[in-house]
């Protein structure tokens, strides 16, 4: 075995030193990688169907994406991802060919060209005003050149502006001061001059937003949510009246909410699951129009023709959804009545947008764009789902992986025979390709063959471990399982623990863990995963747990816990069914053990004194270490434990603030603990799992780059042992500041920060070596067994560590850093850097070696040490995302394949991207396009040649003998 590994290592070294980079050819794109584009949960949609040509729908989403979708198939025509802080507030079409977006609290207005999505300067012949309200200021923007014509500041008067009413010459701005004083300002549309104002104090405080029913009428709820206030503005004068809801509807139990749908003369009031449609008459009186039971959503009104407005709403009926479109003025007839079957894993309807079209018989038809609870987007027309998009995948919260089931034995002969011809044909094609005699059609066929090779999308475990399930938790509370082969959704489940209920008002999914990974004695059980959530954004809300079968997505069990969740610690112990023990720490200094079984308690009792963990209080600048103490004193629960603080590190708040903490991955494998230096000296890596990297910045330098001078900025980094709280290494970078992105692997940590003095980004590496084992260099000690390598290592051992570090400049700013991980840790490592351009760059770890010197000696060169340079090279072939972009990149996940050379990489953001990387090339397998047929042919040819030459030589021999 050792011999094999040695061979591997030599081979590896050879390969590494010969090939610095491994890039892929054009025809290999899409073989092992897939890329999916999403847009996120749609907030606002506009249909653009008037003109002939491509029909499209323009959307803006909660992920700050502005996109134009094909109305026929749901594909993206164009898409722009605005920054994370650039929230889209409004979307409109101007002049029929521009899309206008307002973002960042109304401070940025952009215009995009409708067909291709290019940013445009507005050009128009007509002088139209575009009114923009943002940050307490009203701007009038010319539609000719985008110039601001005038502005009026309302922020000084602390008015929360609710609405703007525009008529030809006058503009009215209505809003509240506090929650009961209502103000109206009249402005001159030409120059923004203040013409008149009026105000009134409403009889009670108000609840929720002001809704405009028509150009001069508003409705709002009072703070008891029992009365409706109707406000009318006429020539800048305010008048109001109020009406209790109980007058409109007898059964007025439950909390009323005004739905923000824009319908002329009407508004919708939701009470429990019922929606009341109420008409506001010209006199300001309220009349109940309709009551809709089990209503799911109400759309804005759509103007079909002059004076005719249509309104769509949906009702839930068991597994179906009934979509109704009604004429507002003529409520009794339905313009459309359809029922649609929708997968119940999509949850309830969140929003509806409707659009009309002319049917072939000249009557009006309607199509509806529906946003579901799981953030997916559906287009419904003629009672059918035309297309659907799983846009929940644009907001990934956490990712884990699961193995696929083992393949069952027994493959039918017929299948093999049927495939034999195909197989041969495929190989002949490949052979042609190799011998460069393939025609263009053949090349296309080869490409198609490769892409469709059913091998990679099978639902069983493969020998190389490339096929896995990516289990993804999204912000909508839906869990998806994607196949790594082609990225298709294998199953998806909307967790009912993460849906809004009376008890759990605003649930959020937090993390996803591997709960049960059966491998030895429990192979017949399916693996399962644990989803941890919380009933609200605050830490003090109770926790919820869900257990899901990883093969079919069934929710096995779910719990609503009485305690909170601050931290979840997967313990390195499993019970007899391979369920992993987890400790959930709440905010009241208790630890709860899961699974709640006596066996789990037994296992924990055995290892009771060996459980340590730490907590970081980033706001206070304190890191604490904890250990279990005993059962809870105040709570009677045998699965509840008290813990105590073992150590604490208190950073002085006036000089340091914690900005980043990173640990090693718990499942990382280190192949060799020793590192042989060029002078045949051995250094031992300090490979403890219990290490934490902490980066602290000066309090002044926590903000944006440039906010602090180099003298005020410094960055202090720590490497801390989390069992004893020892500081193993501590180092100050003067004149540097965050944001810090770091990755910890084996005995090294690499981090990225900004150097204010050099005006550049930098990346540093710190490698930690254990010196207490350094004297095991004598061969005789090994022979006589006098070394201490086999002695158990305890954290209470006083470590004698040395560190080596070096810094390099790096051109890009970084969104995420990860490192490749392989099954046995033999393969050399690559850093995967998510750049600001939303691409993933693979950088060999050897570039970040602290031992790089200016002139490496021959021996050092042989070892693979690269001559020292001041900056890290960016080789464009090493972008593993090649030409693609993972828009809004948030994180990168690496998973080892079974094949040692290969690591699976999943990058997520608004888009998803998956690929395989082989940092030292695939030295342990033949490539997929290896031609077995050519090999066979060569062997056959050789054998034939042997026979021919044998016969020839025999003949010659005979002739010689006769001579």
């Amino acid at each position: 075995m050792a011999m094999v590994i040695r061979c591997f290592l030599t081979l590896l070294l050879f390969l590494v030193s010969t090939h610095l980079t491994s890039s892929l050819y054009e025809d290999q794109v899409g073989l092992m990688d897939w890329h999916q584009q999403y847009i996120g949960k749609v907030k606002h949609a506009l249909f653009h169907t008037q003109k002939t040509g491509r029909k499209r729908v323009l959307v803006s989403t909660e992920e700050n994406v502005v996109a134009s979708l094909d109305l026929r198939r749901g594909e993206i025509f164009w898409r722009h991802v605005l920054g994370t802080n650039d929230v889209v507030d409004g979307l409109d079409i101007a002049l029929g060919k521009y899309v206008i977006t307002l973002s960042s609290d109304g401070s940025i207005l952009r215009a995009w060209n409708l067909p291709d999505g290019q940013m445009k300067n507005l050009k128009a012949d007509k002088d139209d005003l575009i009114l923009v309200f943002g940050k307490g200021c009203l701007h009038a923007v010319s539609s000719i050149d985008g110039e601001v014509l005038w502005r009026q500041d309302f922020a000084g008067e602390s008015i929360e502006v609710g609405h703007i009413i525009q008529s030809t010459d006058e503009i009215y701005v209505a809003g509240f001061i506090g929650s009961s004083k209502f103000y109206v300002y009249g402005l001159n549309a030409k120059n923004g001059e203040l013409l008149k104002n009026d105000h009134t104090t409403l009889p009670s405080d108000t609840f929720g937003e002001l809704l405009s029913v028509s150009s001069d009428k508003f409705v709002v709820l009072d703070n008891m949510r029992s009365k409706i206030l109707t406000i009318k503005i006429k020539n800048g004068k305010i008048s109001y009246n109020q009406k209790p809801i109980s007058d409109l509807n007898k059964d007025s139990s439950g909390q009323a909410v005004i739905l923000p749908s824009r319908i002329p003369e009407l508004f919708a009031l939701r009470m429990n699951s019922r929606v009341l449609l109420i008409k506001v008459t010209n006199e300001g009186d309220l009349v109940l129009v309709d009551k809709i039971n089990n209503a799911a959503g109400v759309s804005d009104a759509l103007s079909i023709s002059e004076g005719q407005h249509a309104l769509a709403f949906a009702q839930h009926e068991d597994s179906k959804i009934r979509l109704l479109v009604k004429d507002i003025n003529n409520w009794n007839d339905d313009l459309l009545k359809e029922s649609i079957i929708i997968d119940n894993q999509r949850g309830n309807i969140d929003k509806i947008f409707i659009n009309n079209y002319l049917r072939t018989d000249r009557s009006y038809g309607f199509r509806a764009l529906i946003v579901m609870e799981d953030h997916s987007l559906l287009l419904v027309q003629q009672g059918e789902i035309v297309w659907s998009r799983e846009d929940g995948l644009a907001s990934v919260v956490d990712v884990t992986t699961s193995e696929l089931p083992v393949e069952k034995e027994g493959v039918s002969v017929a299948k093999v025979e049927q495939n034999l011809f195909e197989w041969l044909k495929g190989h002949v094609l490949k052979l042609k390709g190799t011998l460069m005699i393939a025609s263009p059609e053949d090349v296309v066929a080869i490409q198609a063959l490769r892409l469709r090779s059913s091998e990679k999308s099978k639902m069983t475990r493969d020998h190389n471990g490339f096929r896995k399930l990516l289990i993804i938790l999204t912000r909508a509370g839906k869990v998806f399982a994607l196949h790594t082969g082609d990225g298709r959704v294998v199953w998806s489940v909307l967790l009912h623990t993460l849906r809004k209920t009376e008890v759990c008002k605003d649930p959020v999914g937090l993390n996803i863990y591997q709960w049960q990974v059966p491998h030895h004695h429990a192979l017949d059980e399916n693996p399962s995963i644990l989803v941890v959530g919380r009933c609200g954004p605050s830490l003090a809300t109770p926790a919820v747990l869900s257990f899901i079968d990883a093969y079919n997505g069934k929710e096995l069990n779910s719990m609503s816990l009485t305690h909170t969740v601050a931290q979840v610690i997967p313990l390195p112990y499993t019970d007899s069914t391979e369920q992993r023990l987890h400790l959930i720490i709440d905010i009241n200094q208790h630890a709860y053990l899961y699974p709640r079984s006596p066996e789990a308690i037994d296992i924990l009792q055995r290892e009771f004194s060996n459980v340590y963990w730490y907590s970081v209080e980033a706001d206070d600048g304190v890191i604490r270490g904890h250990a279990l103490k005993g059962n809870c004193i105040h709570i009677i629960d045998e699965y509840c434990f008290d813990f105590r603080d073992l150590w604490s590190i208190v950073f002085p708040s006036e000089t340091e603030k914690i900005i980043a903490t990173v640990t090693r991955k718990s499942n990382e494998v280190v192949h060799t603990q020793a590192k042989v230096m060029t002078d045949y000296d051995v250094m031992y890596k300090y490979v403890s799992k219990n290490v934490l990297f902490v980066a602290n910045a000066a309090p002044k330098a926590r903000g944006e780059i440039g906010a602090a001078t180099p003298e005020e900025a410094w960055l202090v980094i720590y490497i801390i042992d989390t069992v004893t709280g020892r500081i193993l290494h501590r180092m100050t970078h003067h004149g540097c500041q965050g944001p810090v992105h770091a990755v910890f692997s084996e005995n090294w940590v690499v981090y990225h920060y900004f150097n204010l003095r050099a005006h550049r980004y930098e990346m540093s590496v710190v490698e930690v070596y254990d010196q207490s084992r350094g004297d095991n260099k004598d061969v005789w000690k090994f022979v006589l067994g006098k070394h201490n390598l086999t002695s158990p290592i305890s954290s209470y051992y006083r470590p004698e560590v040395t560190t080596k570090s070096q810094s390099y400049f790096f051109t890009h700013s970084v969104k995420a850093i990860e490192v490749t991980s392989t099954a046995k840790g033999i393969t050399s490592k690559q850093l995967l850097i998510g750049t600001i351009g939303d691409q993933v760059l693979a950088l060999d770890k050897r570039f970040l070696d602290p031992r790089r010197t200016l002139n490496p000696s021959q021996a050092e060169k042989e070892e693979g040490i690269i001559p020292l340079t001041d900056s890290l090279p960016i080789i464009s072939q090493t972008y593993i995302t090649h030409s693609l972009k993972v828009e809004g990149l948030q994180g990168i996940v690496t998973v080892p394949a079974k094949l040692e050379s290969t690591s699976l990489v999943f990058a997520y953001g608004v888009d998803l991207f998956f690929t395989q990387v082989a940092p030292s090339r695939t030295y342990d397998s033949l490539t997929e396009d290896f031609s077995y047929a050519l090999l066979l042919l060569t062997i056959v040819a050789l054998v034939a040649a042997i026979f021919v030459t044998w016969v020839l030589s025999e003949r010659k021999d005979l002739q010689e003998k006769w001579r």
């Binding site: 004194s609 304190v622 250990a627 103490k629 105590r644 603080d645 073992l646 150590w647 604490s648 590190i649 208190v650 950073f651 002085p652 708040s653 000089t655 340091e656 202090v716 980094i717 801390i720 004893t724 709280g725 020892r726 500081i727 501590r730 180092m731 100050t732 970078h733 003067h734 150097n755 050099a758 930098e762 540093s764 002695s791 158990p792 290592i793 305890s794 209470y796 051992y797 006083r798 570090s805 070096q806 810094s807 390099y808 400049f809 200016l854 002139n855 000696s857 021959q858 020292l868 340079t869 001041d870």
Partner: protein, 299 residues
Amino acid sequence: MGALHFRSFFAVALLLTCALGFQSDELLLDDDEFGIEGGRSFDSDSRHQPSAAATSTTSRKRFSDSASDSKIQFPLQHAFGDSDFSDAGNFSARLKTWSHGGQTLTKLRFKRDPLTDVEQKNFQELLRGDDFYRIRLPSNVLSPPGREYIISSVKARCLPGDGLEEHFVIHMEGVNVLAVNYGAPGACPYPRQLKLPAKWSFKSYTVLKNSEQAPRAPIFAEDVLGGEGGVGEAVKPMEKSFWAKYWMYLIPLGLIVMNAVTQAMNMPDEQPGGQPGAQTQQQPGPAVQRGPGSGVRRR
């Protein structure tokens, strides 16, 4: 001639030994300044080892002349398992105030209070239960306890050696204590054995640590190119030893020699030993005769 040489050499040697053996009786002010604090008598049985105050302040600071000194003290407190903290000793140090306003501690000394009977009993409890011995320090030495106490703990069974041995590494940032690494100076492998100390007194080692400066990113300019020629010239490939150069030839050679030797050893062995060997094996003579016979047939 030789005698003279020898004599002069002897004289020089004597002079050298004299010089080496010279011991200054000068009173070292620095050390005396930090004598005994609080009037506690200095224990004669070296319970308290003078500690090494390793400071790694930057060289810039070290040469600052206008630094002013003052003495400060801060307490060490300890707890047995989950008990409350009580005083266990005192750290004393010199506080240096630099001209630029920074303050650092140097010359850290530690004086531990002897363990009382109750504390000894508590400690034995800890040893039996394999529980934690905890200590704490103030996070600010000027205004203890500062923001919060710095806690550190160790399994009590790690401490007993000959007596009780402990090792402090105190990480400082100015006058703030960030963390204290507390533990036994030696190893403490996991199945910790119950061992009672011979003496109930602490042997303490203390080290003070400040932050290191990170290495700067190398900045290359044209001078690198200019200097390269000279540097490249100077670095010569290291002369390898004979063994390192030719081991690949020597090993097969050695093997061949070994092989030859063993064959040579076997050959004479067989002839004298052939007789008893033949007897036991019942190897008949015809077998020997068959050799030439077959050779004949081959012709």
